[in-house]
């Protein structure tokens, strides 16, 4: 699926800490380490997904890349340019290359604007075309996302949830972006509508050579739409791999339990389920060492002390990496569950 190996987006050592105010004079007493030292690259034309449970930092990563929140530290390179060195004005100009689709289309589009105004505003800000050209483009966009041209002067409340998400997609497309960050873009939709929107996203990717950073908690959707997948846990990447390797040959114990936890519609042949104990710990005071060690069935003392780095073993596919001290030992059966 990867058409080229050109790196469109390169994220290095990204950290996003949110301060917690408290005590005297609202001093910063602590930090929520939402994203803690995350690095990855997105190739042109591919779909890279980030999956994980709530609080793992997947949405924060997406927002930091678009500089919707200013990252604490790290480097973000987009198409060869360092985004974090851009002024606000330069960043705004650059946003035409990178767009976002949010989960709740009703909360992310202005209810007092008609679809025409919504789409026109996006293009006007980016100085695209004359008024007439923009009007033609609006009609073209509406048809591209499967809405009727006659619906252009309607307000968002006159549309159903799935149609509203199509408006959000049309708005993102209006400025001809290279990269679209889809933040839980189909999560709020009913399955029958969700399938329609997923097919639309895939079609648009083929037609316009789009690159997607697809953030989702739904592993079924991720398997269908992605080329590569990142699994995050408590602000860190625990595994990154080609879609196929990840779903058929997961290495990290967290990825394995996540995959086994999805309820399956296959009623024949029940699978073995790994049920994790306890909850996700707080990102304010994350566990030492491997952040998963408090819930990991294989955890040892080493896991509580040393932070594992992303690494590969010989038998793993190229580009498949996991952050676990015992990848090989668990696979060979040498290292058994410790609890």
């Amino acid at each position: 699926m990867q058409k080229t190996q050109k790196e469109l987006l390169k994220v290095d050592n990204l950290k996003q800490y949110f301060p917690i105010k408290g005590g005297f004079f609202g001093r910063t007493v602590n930090h929520v380490k939402a994203v803690d030292d995350v690095s990855f690259t997105v190739h042109e034309g591919e779909t890279l997904s980030i999956v994980g449970e709530s609080g793992c930092g997947k949405s924060t990563t997406g927002r930091a890349i678009l500089r919707l929140d200013e990252p604490t530290s790290g480097e973000i390179e987009f198409d060869g340019k360092n985004l974090l060195e851009f002024s606000k004005k330069e960043m705004r100009q650059n946003r035409k290359n990178m767009q976002v689709i949010f989960q709740d289309p009703y909360a992310s589009i202005n209810p007092r604007q008609t679809v025409r105004q919504i789409l026109n505003e996006a293009m006007e800000i980016q100085n695209i075309g004359t008024k007439e050209e923009r009007n033609d483009r609006i009609i073209e966009l509406m048809e591209t996302v499967g809405l009727g041209a006659h619906q252009a002067d309607r307000f968002p409340h006159e549309f159903s949830g799935g149609q509203r998400q199509r408006i959000g997609i049309a708005r993102a497309l209006s400025v001809n972006p290279q990269l679209i960050v889809c933040d839980e873009a189909v999560s709020a939709l009913d399955v029958s509508i969700q399938a329609q929107v997923i097919n639309l996203l895939k079609k648009l990717q083929r037609d316009f050579d789009l690159t997607y950073l697809f953030i989702s908690h739904d592993l079924g959707v991720v398997r269908h739409i992605s080329d590569r997948v990142i699994v995050m846990y408590l602000g860190k990447i625990v595994e990154i791999a080609d879609k196929k390797s990840l779903f058929t040959n997961a290495q990290h114990p967290y990825t394995k339990s996540l995959l086994s936890a999805i309820p399956s519609t296959n009623t024949e042949g029940k699978k073995e389920r790994i049920i994790l104990k306890g909850d996700v710990p707080s990102p304010i005071d994350p566990p030492t060492g491997c952040r998963f060690h408090t819930r990991c069935p294989f955890a040892t003392e080493k896991c509580a002390k040393e932070v594992p780095t992303l690494r590969s073993e010989d038998y793993m596919e190229e580009g498949h990496m996991a952050a676990c001290h015992y990848i090989e030992e668990i696979k060979s059966g040498e290292h058994q569950p410790t609890r």
Binding site: Q163, V191, I198, P263, T265
Partner: protein
């Protein structure tokens, strides 16, 4: 397999239930003649997309419908007695005691100003006339049962001090406090992460076996249904379109809507090369509700006869289907075969 015949085996029987909402302009028939039964000790799943009427059906069962909504017809037989004929005082004795309910959002269904212990012990005080101390002791036992660590400490905490999964456990503890015979769980795991969802579903299953409870599970998640239910009722636009045991629903679904739902779900255990199969269009608004089969405008097989409403027919196995294709009145393609691509489990 026969679920409909012997009423002694069914803890709950809902017959032709109709619940409507009245606006100035029109009557919105949210639940439009729903019939199903829950066998004792079994779990029945009620599935459908938003607006199908599944939640209103469950709220109607406990008579929790508020104005402008109203139950306008049918009967709800719980252990042979029609709940719609009960007084409000009698209903109050049943709610939380014989029939309990768990809601989707534990934060909005727990009172933030009372401790967990106070909220659970309320059930004991009202239904079992226990004193404060005894009630708290029983609450601690309940918290232990649902797997909350250090329950003696948790019992004095407020909902905001607990995580989402813990809050849902508290809701379950509260619902199960008086050993209900029927538990109605409305999207109990929808707001939770998958690893926590797996814990909660396991817990409900385990408690059900231990307490011999019957469960009505309302959900939009077909995976959850497949893993927890014995029987499944599929709802569309206020009507049940198919009812069958869980294996039949997933391996041999009959209604084009059930098939469409199963197909449009991207599977996580294998790859689909092409586009996902979709159900065209969207759920009709109440103002545009079709006269005949509600699903006809979106159905790939719709024919002339579908302009009239099909009835819910029961086959020899006790499974039910509301579709003309399976009747002798069918006037479309006689060779038509409705089957889900998802059931071709070759990989």
């Amino acid at each position: 397999m026969s679920t409909k015949t012997n009423s002694n085996e069914n803890i709950l029987e809902v017959n032709e239930l109709k619940t409507s909402f009245f606006t100035d302009e029109m009557e919105v028939k949210a639940v439009d003649g729903v019939t199903f039964a829950i066998p004792k000790g079994k779990t029945v799943g009620l599935v459908g997309e938003s607006g199908s009427g599944k939640s209103i059906s469950s709220l109607s069962t406990l008579r929790l419908i508020e104005r402008p909504g109203k139950i306008v017809g049918g009967e709800i037989k719980f252990k042979g007695e029609n709940l719609l004929e009960k007084s409000e005082a009698q209903m109050r004795k049943i709610r939380g005691n014989e029939i309990s309910m768990i809601f989707q959002e534990p934060m909005t269904s727990l009172n933030p100003t009372y401790t967990v212990g106070q909220q659970i012990s309320e059930a004991y005080k009202i239904h079992e006339n226990l004193g404060k101390k005894q009630a708290i002791e029983r609450s601690i036992e309940m918290l232990k049962l649902v797997g909350i660590p250090s329950p003696e400490k948790r019992v004095n905490q407020y909902p905001h001090e607990l995580s989402g999964g813990m809050r849902q456990r508290v809701m379950i503890a509260m619902a199960l406090a008086c050993n209900p015979e029927l538990l109605i769980a409305d999207e109990p795991t929808t707001a939770l992460d998958v690893t926590i969802q797996a814990q909660i579903l396991e817990l409900i299953k385990d408690l059900q076996e231990r307490l011999n409870m019957s469960v009505l599970l309302i959900t939009h998640d077909l995976g959850v249904v497949a893993e927890t239910c014995d029987y499944v009722a599929v709802m569309y636009c206020g009507k049940i379109v198919e009812f069958a045991d869980v294996n039949t629903i997933f391996s041999n679904p009959k209604h084009p809507y059930t098939v469409g739902l199963l197909d449009s779900l991207p599977p996580h255990d294998r790859d689909i090369k092409d586009d996902l199969p979709v159900i065209r269009g969207s759920v009709p608004s109440p103002a545009e509700m079709p006269e005949g089969c509600r699903f006809a405008p979106r159905c790939p097989f719709a024919s002339e006869v579908c302009k009239t409403l099909p009835t819910l027919e029961t086959d020899e196995n006790g499974n039910q289907i509301r579709c003309w294709i399976y009747s002798d009145k069918w006037d479309g393609d006689p060779e038509v075969k409705v089957h889900a691509k998802n059931t071709e489990r070759t990989s």
